[in-house]
C-alpha cells in the first residue's frame, strides 16, 4: 500500500482579487492538512480568476514574489499545485502552475497551448511556455503538470508519462457549454473532458487528477466536475458539477505499479520512432524535405 489522500480544491476564484484568492488558498491548505491530505491541487489561475484581459499585466507576479513564498511556507509538509499569472524577467506573461514542496517553489509549468478561438482569447494576453518536464516529488512518484488546453494535445500527457510522471495533474478553468440533452452529463464540455482524461489514464497507465474551477467570470460558467482517475482508466472520484468544495480522495499509488506490470504500454512505447517520424514531418512541413508518400503496396 502506498496510500495518498488528494485534496481537490474546486474553488470559485474572484476575478482580479489576488489577496482574497490567496487567503482562500491558505484557508483550504489548512483544511486539507487537517483532513490528512498529502497533495492539494488548485485550478488554473486560482489565484487570479480567468477572464482577466488587460488585468493580466496588473495581477502578474514573479516566481520569487514573497506572496508565493508565503503560500509555499503555508504548504509546508504538503505538496500543493497553485496557479497564477507569471511575469518573466523579460516581461512576458504566462499562465503558470507551481508545485510547492518543502516550503518552496519546486517547479513551475507554463501553459504550452493557449486557446485563441471560439470563446477563448488567451494568446492575445499571454505568451506560451516552451518547456515540458515531469518532476520528482516528495510523494515518491514523478508528477506531470498540464494546464487546461495542454491536455487537448495528445503529446502532452504522453511526453509527461515518458518523462517519468506517474501522476498526471491537469488544472483547468474550463467554461461549461453545450447543454444539449443528449450529452452524457447534460453538458458537452464535461462529456468531452471525461472521455479524454479517462483515455489518458488508461493509455499512460498513470493516475490522472483533473481539477476544474467553478463560479462565474462575466458570461462564462465554469463547471467543476473535478476527477481522480485510476491508472486503468476507471474513475475513482467525480466531484459534483458547479459546486464549490474541497474534496478529499484516497488513492493507492501502488495501483500504478500493478497496472504498469500487467499492462506494460509505457515499456513498449517507441519514443525513438516518434522522434524519427516527427523530424521527418517537421522537415516536410517546413519545405526542407520532399513529402515522402506512405508506402504503396505493389
Amino acid at each position: 500500500m502506498q496510500p495518498l489522500r488528494i485534496a481537490l480544491a474546486q474553488i470559485a476564484p474572484r476575478l482580479g482579487l489576488f489577496e482574497e484568492n490567496l487567503a482562500r488558498h491558505e484557508q483550504l491548505l489548512a483544511e486539507a492538512r487537517a483532513g490528512g491530505a498529502g497533495l492539494v491541487v488548485f485550478p488554473e489561475l486560482g489565484l487570479t480568476g480567468y477572464l482577466l484581459q488587460d488585468l493580466a499585466a496588473e495581477i502578474a507576479i514573479r516566481t520569487d514574489d514573497p506572496r508565493l513564498a508565503g503560500l509555499a511556507a503555508a504548504a509546508e509538509g504538503l505538496s500543493a499545485v497553485v496557479s497564477f499569472v507569471e511575469e518573466s524577467a523579460d516581461h512576458r506573461l504566462f499562465i503558470s502552475a507551481a508545485l510547492l514542496e518543502e516550503g518552496r517553489v519546486a517547479h513551475v509549468h507554463r501553459k504550452l497551448f493557449l486557446p485563441t478561438y471560439g470563446l477563448f482569447d488567451e494568446r492575445r494576453f499571454f505568451a506560451p511556455g516552451d518547456r515540458l518536464r515531469s518532476v520528482p516529488s516528495r510523494l515518491g512518484v514523478g508528477l506531470g503538470i498540464g494546464i487546461c488546453e495542454d491536455f487537448w494535445h495528445l503529446a502532452v500527457p504522453d511526453l509527461l508519462a515518458l518523462d517519468g510522471a506517474q501522476l498526471l495533474l491537469n488544472v483547468s478553468s474550463s467554461p461549461g457549454r453545450d447543454l444539449a440533452a443528449t450529452n452524457e452529463v447534460g453538458l458537452g464540455t464535461a462529456t468531452s473532458w471525461r472521455t479524454l482524461m479517462r483515455a489518458y489514464a488508461q493509455l499512460t497507465t498513470s493516475l490522472v487528477v483533473f481539477v476544474n474551477r467553478v463560479g462565474i467570470d462575466e458570461s462564462i460558467a465554469f463547471w467543476g466536475g473535478s476527477e481522480v482517475i485510476g491508472p486503468s482508466g476507471r474513475p475513482i472520484f467525480s466531484a459534483p458539477l458547479f459546486d464549490e468544495g474541497l474534496f478529499l480522495v484516497d488513492v493507492d499509488l501502488a495501483d500504478i505499479r500493478r497496472e504498469r506490470i500487467s499492462l506494460p504500454l509505457l515499456r513498449d512505447e517507441r519514443p525513438e520512432l516518434l522522434v524519427r517520424e516527427l523530424e521527418r514531418i517537421v522537415a516536410e512541413r517546413a519545405g526542407l524535405a520532399l513529402d515522402e508518400p506512405a508506402e504503396v503496396p505493389g
Partner: protein, 328 residues
C-alpha cells in the same frame, strides 16, 4: 408556413451522420393523450433543463454579487420570456428580492396583464402596475389632439409607436432600478435577438440577460420544466403592439422552424447551400440570412472612432466586473 416540418423524428434529412444529436426518446413535451402538445420542441434543440437552471442561477447570483446588488427587477409582459426570467430570478435569489413591473399600454391585451399577475401571484414577488399610455400619448398625441411630436405624430406607424413604447418601458425600469435598488434583468431570447426582432435601447436594454442564449423553443422547454402556467407557454408569442398581433403572423414563419434554421446556421455553421440541403426553403434561408446580417448593429456596442493610443472596446479591454467596479 415555410421550411421543413419542425420536428423530424430521428434525424435531419441530409445531415452528416453523427452530427445530429441522437433522438431524444420520442417524448413530446407536455403531451397528454387526446390533448395537443403544449409546444413543439425540435429534437436537436432539447436541452438538459436541470443544468440550464443551475448555470443560469449561478449566473444571476454572480451578476448581482459582482455588481454589489442584492435585488433585481424586470418588465413582466405576460409572455413566456419574461415569465421564465421572473421564475429563474426568484429561484436564484428568492422572490422577495424581485420586483416585476407590469407596464401595459391602453391597447395591450387584458389577458397579458392577467397572465403577468398570475406569475406574480405564484412567485409571491413584489410588483407594480405602471400604465405607459399617458407617456406615449403625450408624445404621439391622441384622438386628433397632437402631442409633443406635433401633428405628424398622430400618423406615426405601429413600428414607431412600438419602439417608443419599448423605450418608455426601458426608461421606467431604469428609474425603478434606483428606487428598488436592483439591476434590470433582460428577458430577450436568442431567436429574436438573432433576427433583430427587438428594439435597440428598448426591450434589449438590461444589466444582464439570463436567457439570451436560449432559442424560443428552449425557452418554452425550460418554462415547462420550471412550472410556468401552461396558458402562458401555450399562447402565441406577441409584441402586443396592436390587438391580435402575433410574432409568427407578422414574420411569416413558425418559431420551431426558425429556431432550427438559426441553430443549424449559427451554432452548427451551415452555409446557405447546406441549409437548403438540410431541407429548409431557399427563400426562407435567404430572408433569415438577411435579417441576421441586417440586425448585427443591435447586438453590438456602438463603434468608437479610433483616435487615441488606447480606446475602449478595442485595445482597452477589461472585464465589466473588474476589482472596484461593484457599487459600494
Amino acid at each position: 408556413m415555410s421550411g421543413p416540418p419542425g420536428r423530424v423524428p430521428g434525424a435531419v434529412p441530409g445531415a452528416v451522420p453523427g452530427e445530429v444529436p441522437g433522438a431524444v426518446p420520442g417524448e413530446v413535451p407536455g403531451e397528454v393523450p387526446g390533448e395537443p402538445a403544449l409546444f413543439e420542441l425540435p429534437d436537436e434543440l432539447a436541452i438538459d433543463t436541470d443544468i440550464a437552471r443551475r448555470v443560469i442561477g449561478e449566473f444571476i447570483r454572480a451578476q448581482l454579487d459582482q455588481a454589489g446588488f442584492e435585488r433585481a427587477l424586470l418588465g413582466l409582459s405576460g409572455g413566456v420570456d419574461s415569465a421564465l426570467v421572473a421564475f429563474l430570478v426568484a429561484e436564484a435569489i428568492g422572490p422577495e428580492r424581485l420586483l416585476c413591473l407590469l407596464m401595459p399600454y391602453r391597447t395591450s391585451a387584458p389577458a397579458s396583464v392577467a397572465d403577468a399577475r398570475e406569475v406574480v401571484r405564484r412567485l409571491g414577488c413584489a410588483s407594480e402596475l405602471i400604465e405607459i399610455s399617458p407617456i406615449v400619448d403625450a408624445f404621439f398625441g391622441r384622438d386628433g389632439e397632437p402631442g409633443a411630436a406635433g401633428p405628424e405624430g398622430l400618423a406615426a406607424s405601429p413600428v414607431r409607436r412600438g419602439n417608443f413604447m419599448a423605450r418608455v418601458r426601458m426608461a421606467v425600469l431604469y428609474d425603478r432600478s434606483v428606487t428598488w435598488g436592483g439591476l434590470v434583468v433582460g428577458t430577450g431570447n436568442k431567436t429574436e435577438s438573432l433576427i433583430g426582432y427587438t428594439t435597440i435601447y428598448g426591450d434589449a436594454a438590461c444589466a444582464f440577460n439570463p436567457i439570451g442564449d436560449l432559442y424560443k423553443s428552449q425557452v418554452r422547454q425550460l418554462a415547462q420544466a420550471i412550472g410556468i402556467p401552461e396558458a402562458i407557454i401555450r399562447k402565441a408569442p406577441s409584441a402586443d403592439l396592436w390587438p391580435g398581433q402575433t410574432d409568427e403572423g407578422e414574420a411569416g414563419f413558425s418559431y420551431p422552424v426558425l429556431d432550427r434554421l438559426l441553430y443549424w446556421m449559427v451554432d452548427r455553421r451551415r452555409s446557405p447551400e447546406e441549409l437548403v440541403a438540410l431541407g429548409f426553403e431557399t427563400a426562407l434561408v435567404e430572408r433569415v440570412e438577411r435579417m441576421v446580417a441586417g440586425s448585427e448593429f443591435k447586438r453590438q456596442v456602438p463603434p468608437v472612432a479610433k483616435l487615441g493610443p488606447r480606446t475602449t472596446g478595442i485595445d482597452y479591454l477589461y472585464p465589466r466586473r473588474r476589482p472596484g467596479s461593484a457599487r459600494r
